[in-house]
Symmetry: C2
Subunit: 431 residues, 2 copies
């Protein structure tokens, strides 16, 4: 006889509607696979009259979160934001109800508070959908790869950015018109900053880093740069060099300290990560035992996100049915404090594009400054067919070098008379 576990969803927006549909439509396969009757009993929203374009029994709808929490064994928070969503989660946990959420911003900013409440009340708090949508990457990281020390992780975790970059590359287009078109098509928000400035990816990177290294990093631990500085010329030149631009989250363990950064990055075009195009996401996890692994799929959207939410709900339901709640707790801090890599220790190869006047001595002056800063050049290119208005691009790819040295050199180079002060500099990851 299958045990019934009652599920309530707070937030009847896109993802809430998707999770409700998934729970109703695939109730039978979930029951068959788990022997647990995972039953949707309540959906709460301020607005329970608007048409969401999905079929849900009217009697499930309520405007009362308190009623929902009282009637549910598992509470799903899908309203988003970092204020009232957090209050509802705390209320559910304090009522002894386990919680599932997709709220990466809330976790990145108030994670420790929520985890403490889950622990105090002996509840589960799961959040697979908060990172890379439908891809079960949190489960992979903390269960499937549990026996690995994590060496590094790379993530393409924002579908909006990846869609824009894919189109810029394919069409030789500039950032602004592609962004506008993405907004018109519904792939980018009216206010695109959270996506294109890298903060959405940064929330996800902080979560992955926390799970890998046992310390819940806040957003302030992440160095963040968005994609709006990438020009058509940079795209073209990256392609000539065999690279491709991605908004890449980089999480690295460097001698026991952790680097967490999000930045437009050149990666090999023929790599698995390089092959991830359009709105798709992918996370590469390299462990000391397993080597390189990659997890790929849809990082957003109603149904993909619902898939991850309902997987978490089912995991909690299995815990409830087997009396093993907190078998895999929301977060477990490691024994030792983990430090961040100091900015002066950041080390990478770099792509550099200058606009220089066509006159003798320019290359010598630039390379001289690099040499003085102990920066070694891997390749250099001055493509004459890209000259415009007496200016020509000078492209330099460096060997691995300290970022502080690069920044010092860039400041010096930008002060040269015959160099345009706008210097474009991007990291390269050879994966």
């Amino acid at each position: 006889m299958a045990q019934t576990v009652k599920v309530g969803i707070i937030g009847f927006g896109t993802v809430g509607a998707g999770a409700a549909v998934n729970l109703l439509k695939n109730h039978d396969v979930i029951l068959e696979r788990t022997n647990v009757d995972v039953k949707l009993v309540r959906i709460a929203d301020k607005d329970i009259t608007s048409d969401r374009g999905v079929q849900v029994p009217a009697e499930l709808l309520t405007t009362s979160v308190d009623e929902l929490i009282a009637e549910s064994d598992v509470v799903v928070e899908l309203i988003g934001g970092t204020t009232i969503a957090g209050d509802f989660i705390l209320k559910a946990l304090n009522a002894g109800k386990s919680v599932v959420t997709a709220n990466k911003a809330l976790l990145a900013t108030r994670g420790n508070e929520l985890f403490a409440a889950a622990e105090k009340n002996s509840c589960d708090l799961y959040y697979e959908a908060s990172v890379a949508g439908g891809i079960p990457v949190i489960k992979a990281l903390r269960e499937g790869l549990v026996s690995n020390r994590i060496i590094r992780m790379y993530g393409i975790m924002n579908g909006t950015c990846n869609y824009i970059l894919t189109r810029m590359e394919a069409e030789g287009a500039a950032f602004e018109p592609v962004l506008k078109d993405a907004q018109a098509l519904g792939y980018a928000e009216a206010n695109p900053s959270l996506d294109v400035d890298g903060f959405d990816t940064a929330h996800k990177a902080a979560i992955l880093a926390g799970l890998a290294y046992g310390k819940w990093f806040g957003l302030e631990a992440v160095s963040v740069e968005g994609i709006s500085n990438i020009t058509q010329l940079d795209m073209k030149m990256a392609g000539k060099l065999g690279y491709r631009f991605k908004l890449l989250a980089v999480i690295k363990n460097i001698d026991g300290a952790v680097q967490i950064s999000v930045a437009p990055t050149l990666i090999p075009a023929n790599s698995m990560l390089g092959a991830i195009s359009g709105v798709f996401n992918g996370v590469m996890i390299e462990g000391d035992t397993v080597g390189q692994t990659l997890f790929y799929g849809r990082g957003a959207g109603r149904d993909a996100t619902a898939s991850a939410v309902v997987a978490d709900v089912t995991d909690v339901a299995l815990n409830i049915a087997n009396k093993s709640v907190r078998r895999v707790p929301a977060f477990r801090a490691g024994a030792e404090d983990v430090q961040l890599v100091k900015p002066e220790e950041l080390f990478s190869r770099f792509y550099l594009r200058l606009a220089v006047k066509e006159q003798p001595g320019v290359v010598a002056a630039v390379t001289d400054i690099l040499a003085k800063n102990q920066i070694s050049i891997s390749s250099l290119m001055q493509p004459e067919n890209e000259a415009h208005d007496g200016q020509i691009p000078l492209l330099i790819v460096t060997h691995a070098t300290k970022e502080v040295a690069m920044k010092a050199a860039m400041e010096e180079i930008a002060r040269l008379d015959y160099v345009d002060s706008k210097v474009n500099m991007f990291r390269i990851e050879d994966i």
Copy 2:
């Protein structure tokens, strides 16, 4: 206070040594992440004196499997084969000990017997390492994607074959010399049949299909074809058409019946699966809710396999510590019997290469036979620079068509006077 769970490994070969090293070396991170002391207490092998090139305390070694089973909470079977390995697993289960194995051949042939013993004795039986090595694809399929009806799965799951095909393509080389070189380099066995004839992949496909559709299919449910028929010319022509050869496992739900097949298949070169090169493995899983996902990593090798084995051991240890053994049982059959797709229902696009005499009427005769069999041509190519000894290749790519119609047409075509009787035909999957 962390609970101790005692682990014994039967089989001190390559993977056994890897699992032992992983358990010893990363004992601290596993403890930190799970709060369970997952402790290696015994390793059994007939030979406990040969040097395995790994550091293991001598007192762990024993020649007595009985002693090992008596002293362990979790028994890891890593000796391989389908006879004595199965007996040891049954002995452990009947002693009430949960089991972890990497033995795909044993599971594919004696799965139902082993699952019944696990159920009878209320034990876990986990086998993540049996499919795609270090990639946590079984966990993804039955936990991370639990809320999905599985529409189809594609797997590149044999590193030896993928290594050979990658080199054939890169070097324009034939199958035999690359196989010989792979054998010399240790990437292929002295008797390569299990790999290159597709049976290793077929075992894995049967396991994935069983988990997806709730019926434990035997090897006899899988249609199997190996890679030895692919010629240099086929490789080259596939490339011209934008495709690439992979030994592809295909698992599809077609109107409630299941297709499980393994065959050399043309897939788009620019797809994520097409980008998987060398010894790496990848499994694409398409669910009705999540859409397409892909899981990629090392499919074999000491450490990658150990990563999956130790993840399973840790999962069992978590179950023991939380008194939730059989929370996710070894296998749960679905409510309804699942039928296989009948051969006459198999439906695909095809690539066809004939060697024809250069004389008038050949193309007309061939295309006439195809038309008579209701086979529609998508593209046709007769590359004159590939003519040799009065013969020229004729390449045909069809629209989706029934395989039985193709076979009938092929027989008829092979009987034509001016067509060489050796017709090469491969499936195309557009993914």
